[in-house]
Amino acid sequence: MPRSVFDKIWDAHEVADALLYIDLHLVHEVTSPQAFESLRLAGRKVRRPDRTLATADHNVPTDGSTAAQQIRDQLSRVQVETLEQNAAEFGIPIYSIGSRSQGIVHVIGPELGVTQPGMTIVCGDSHTSTHGAFGSLAFGIGTSEVEHVLATQTLQQRKPKSMLIRYEGQLGFGVTAKDLILATIGQMGVEGGVGHVIEYAGPAIEGLSMEGRMTVCNMTIEGGGRAGMVAPDDTTFEWVEGREAAPDPLPLDEWRALRTDEGASFDKELVVDAGRVSPQVTWGTNPGMVVGVTGAVPEPATEGDQRALEYMALQPGTPMSEIRLDRVFIGSCTNSRIGDLREAAELVRGRRVASTVDAMVVPGSQQVKAQAEAEGLDEVFRTAGFDWRSAGCSMCLGMNPDIAAPGERVASTSNRNFEGRQGRGARSHLVSPKMAAAAAIEGHFVDIREWS
């Protein structure tokens, strides 16, 4: 019977009925302390420390602090120190603050080469779907499940349904992976993928860099999807080859077999015309509330839309390009990799951030930061008036000092425009790094296809 990539990975990992073996477990400080505490109380050990990797990201200040002891917020400090203590006690490798490999968990996994095709990967974080870009089955879990994986290296899990999102055509000039996934969520809705593992396919996906594929898979959860994945190809293999934890040589025969067979069936299919996607900007309080930059704030169709417009302080009919911004945030597990920073830097080179805008760039990892600095991108951003920060989740979710003030309007390359996500009362507009960079310069959204 023809099988999809998802079917093949699932079949290779089912230990028993509805019991899935986990190849890699990524751990961060926010969703793990209660899991370790329960393990301790039950006298249980971590079954496979060699398949577990920890990093600190959510609480990390991006001011260049080099040790947990330097975190001023007491609760944040305790949470990071607790992770360090738990990692030491249970023998788990950790890249905490001060490590040259520290960073956002979904940036460092691929960067170190621990994220590989064909694997099952979990983390107590919904954006674990990012790793599916490598042709792995990767999804977020809660703290009870974190504990379960630590203790057993498995998850009790019924096989989710499958969904194929097939893109026709190619992305136009100035249109990025971020726009593609935002437009997709706009089309299918924030509930469109619930219960399904989504495979993204078609020429527009094949044409994306690994960074672009990670951006697409990252936001799968915003469309409700359990996991998102792209079948691995030469782009994938080239990216993995030579990384610290990558196999040498790469098991290319095994990895090349991770293709969806002709005739494999999916429970649900969606076709998206990639050629018609324009640069996207969200107007509301979930990622499905999105329009093209040439569009306008829509008339509210539901009570939820009405509430969103009130929270966002927007009037229907307002052109998106007239929305003025207070802040620009370039970063997060969605868009903080070297390719994202290069794209943004290219647009700001030789320009100045608008005097009304406070703009920051937060590399996703210390390695991305070092690479960007080696290329001089930090100077490009600094000269233009951006704040150049150290690696962490930063203003994506405001669990660290990087928080937007009540009422402030933010153009953000992150993944969630939920109420209060970037700071209580803050108003978030999700965009691509290119769109964020141009918005920082102009002080409002612009259509980068026509901006020079």
Partner: protein, 187 residues
């Protein structure tokens, strides 16, 4: 895990769709390293808005796609700590649904019309064993995974259940485990 059997009582109505876990428990409360005491921060920002009311009842009835967004189990912890024992909705986000079942907070999926009827009735009885919700003037059955139901009814420890399959796990590791990556070899 808390044992679940029959949940009976008044219904709290939160008639909103796509309620995300950032609203259920905002990020500033995720810094705690304990599992308890989240109830007082439930819907922290919404609770400050005029007209907000969320009576502490055993049952919460709400809109589609409840619990979307972040995987934070703090959201079910907060709802449970606040006093809810079951949540009735037309649909739930996947991770949230799973998280609820892990702590004995019963998520019940019913057709939208039935959720509306439960909201209007203001009081309901949820029988997990019978997989049935009843209220004054109506009743409806609901689907739940048989294994999840068994664990909830028995208040079973998930890890304990899985460790009974130790032989299968060890066998899998011995025979089928793929090579690499080995995180402990990273420098």
């Amino acid at each position: 895990m808390r044992q679940v059997d029959v949940i009976e009582g008044d219904v709290t109505v939160l008639d909103r769709s796509d309620v995300d876990t950032d609203q259920i428990i905002p990020k500033q409360f995720l810094k705690r390293v304990e599992r308890t005491g989240f109830g007082e921060f439930l819907f922290y920002d919404w609770a400050k808005q005029p007209g907000w009311e969320l009576p502490r009842n055993p049952i919460l009835a709400t809109g589609r796609n409840f619990g979307c967004g972040s995987s934070r189990e703090h959201a079910p912890w907060a709802l449970e700590d606040y006093g809810f024992a079951a949540i009735v909705a037309p649909s739930f986000a996947d991770i949230f649904y799973s998280n609820c079942t892990k702590i004995g907070l019963l998520p019940v999926v019913l057709p939208e019309d039935d959720v509306r009827a439960v909201m209007a009735a203001g009081r309901a009885t949820i029988d997990l064993d019978a997989q049935e919700v009843s209220w004054d003037g109506g009743r409806a059955s609901f689907e739940i995974d048989a294994e999840v139901r068994r664990r909830l009814l028995g208040g079973l420890d998930d890890i304990g259940v899985t460790l009974q399959q130790e032989e299968a796990i060890a066998g899998y590791e011995a025979e089928r485990e793929r090579s690499g990556p080995v995180t402990t070899s990273l420098t």
